[in-house]
């Protein structure tokens, strides 16, 4: 019973979905305020989702029907599973095992893969283009993002999220000991969520709506929801690893919100990068920075 509650109500399932919608609202509202607008009302993401769920779902000609309907469900399932191992809202995660950091990161990548495949299975050339861009972007930010998240893991000498957060909680914030890793992790998270300036995969002015061009109704709603959940999971992960653990739920919520503020501000500051610029940026600077950070940590560990 208790386990079921954890899965369906708090901190997994329902609470997570509501917080994900709230996070979308906060981000959109902040963006609007930064652009000198009033911005959406607080229930806007909920209304969008419900409306999409109540709309007709068009299955276009020439797609693999089963895959077309299954991909959104799979991506939502993947991010909800990823949420099980991270300390959402600062409470103890539902599961914890050696190596869950890697599993979480790859479950988050499953969302990206599903998005890409969603574009590639249709006949639509815009969607196919979007799908390809999603994939090329995935290959560019994935390695640096993973390296940046492994920095704290190496420092804590464990691959288990709870151990790393415990280590982070009892030491100086890793933001200060590994500043480069933090920057790479935050920017990598933005790449993962396809937020501007890394929104080339869904560039409205170029390729309609990217890989989700053919999705309407329920499928689109599920994809949007999973992206919001991924936002919350990613923020939680980075905040827990880099901003000093999860000892105090209230302080943790503030830290996560602050991180969301940073991400939204970066979003408002920069224009979209071309896909080749994105890849160049990550492989020229992101990977090198993350690797350099890693060597420094290893040397520090060896010296200590």
């Amino acid at each position: 019973m208790n386990a079921l509650g954890t899965l369906l109500l708090f901190p997994g399932g329902l609470a997570l979905l509501l917080v994900a919608l709230l996070a979308e609202w906060i981000s959109r509202k902040l963006l609007a305020r930064l652009q000198n607008r009033v911005g959406p009302r607080w229930f806007q993401p909920l209304a969008d989702t419900v409306k999409l769920l109540a709309k007709e779902e068009v299955i276009p000609e020439g797609v693999h029907r089963v895959l077309f309907e299954f991909l959104p469900v799979l991506s939502l399932a993947a991010v909800l599973t990823a949420a099980l191992a991270v300390p959402l809202f600062g409470v103890v995660p539902a599961t914890s095992y050696a190596g869950d950091l890697i599993v979480t990161v790859y479950l988050l990548s499953l969302l990206t893969l599903c998005t890409s495949l969603a574009g590639l299975i249709t006949d639509d050339r815009y969607a196919a283009m979007g799908g390809l861009r999603v994939l090329s972007q995935l290959f560019s930010y994935e390695a640096p993002f993973l390296l940046a998240l492994l920095g704290p893991a190496v420092a804590a000498e464990s691959w288990q999220i709870t151990r790393i957060t415990a280590h982070a909680g009892s030491n100086v914030w890793m933001l200060f000991t590994q500043p480069v890793g933090f920057v790479v992790a935050v920017i990598g998270l933005m790449g993962k969520l396809e937020l501007s300036p890394f929104d080339a995969p869904e560039a409205h002015t170029e390729i309609v709506a990217g890989s989700l061009t053919e999705y309407s109704g329920r499928g689109l709603a599920l994809f949007r929801l999973s992206r919001n959940v991924a936002l919350v999971v990613g923020l939680t992960l980075v905040a827990a690893l880099y901003l000093g653990g999860v000892s105090d739920p209230l302080a943790f919520a503030v830290k996560t919100l602050a991180l969301l503020l940073v991400i939204t501000t970066v979003q408002a500051l920069f224009a979209r990068l071309r896909i080749d610029q994105t890849i160049g940026l990550w492989w020229h600077y992101g990977v090198l920075l993350a690797l350099g950070q890693w060597f420094l940590i290893l040397i520090g560990k060896g010296a200590a």
């Binding site: 000198n36 009033v38 009302r41």
Partner: protein
């Protein structure tokens, strides 16, 4: 008997929720059927920070599959007719259409042009007409709100958030 009543109440509640969501999240798609670009500029102005249609939930979508409201500007030209029908048919139900500007209403200054095949409502059903050459952004937003009011028996759209 009671089971039927409960089912009906449940369906009513569901319909109410769907209506609430629909009236609060109108995503628009803009299609130029042959406009002189005047109306298009005004429509874009209505989406800029000054008027900020996002406070009503209005969002410009790029894909017909994801839009609820099709906003058409200009008279329908021979070239645009087939595309117009195709875009309209690509939109998922429920879908609505707003005709923007005198040209979409009656062909305006392009009346009787050799390449113009008629006003918008000759080809697809139109829900709201916004006159003007071109209509001001306020008029466009007003048109969207009139459309949302039409969906709703009671006038509750603007109460949700004065923001």
């Amino acid at each position: 008997m009671t089971a039927m009543k409960i089912e009906q109440a449940w369906n009513n509640a569901l319909a109410g929720v769907a209506l609430w969501a629909r009236t609060n999240s109108p995503w628009v798609l803009h299609f130029n059927t042959g406009s002189c670009n005047g109306c298009d500029i005004e429509l874009l102005a209505a989406l800029t920070p000054r008027y900020d249609a996002e406070r009503l939930g209005v969002k410009l979508q790029a894909s017909p599959r994801q839009a609820d409201i099709l906003i058409c500007t200009g008279p329908v030209t021979r070239q645009a007719r087939d595309r117009l029908l195709r875009i309209y048919e690509q939109m998922p139900e429920p879908r609505f259409v707003i005709a923007l500007g005198s040209c979409a209403l009656s062909c305006g200054v392009f009346h009787d042009c050799y390449n113009v095949v008629g006003p918008l409502d000759r080809f697809i059903p139109v829900d709201v007409y916004v006159p003007g050459c071109p209509p001001r952004p306020e008029a466009i937003i007003y048109g969207v709100i009139e459309l949302l009011k039409k969906l709703h028996p009671v006038d509750v759209i603007l109460e949700g958030g004065s923001a």
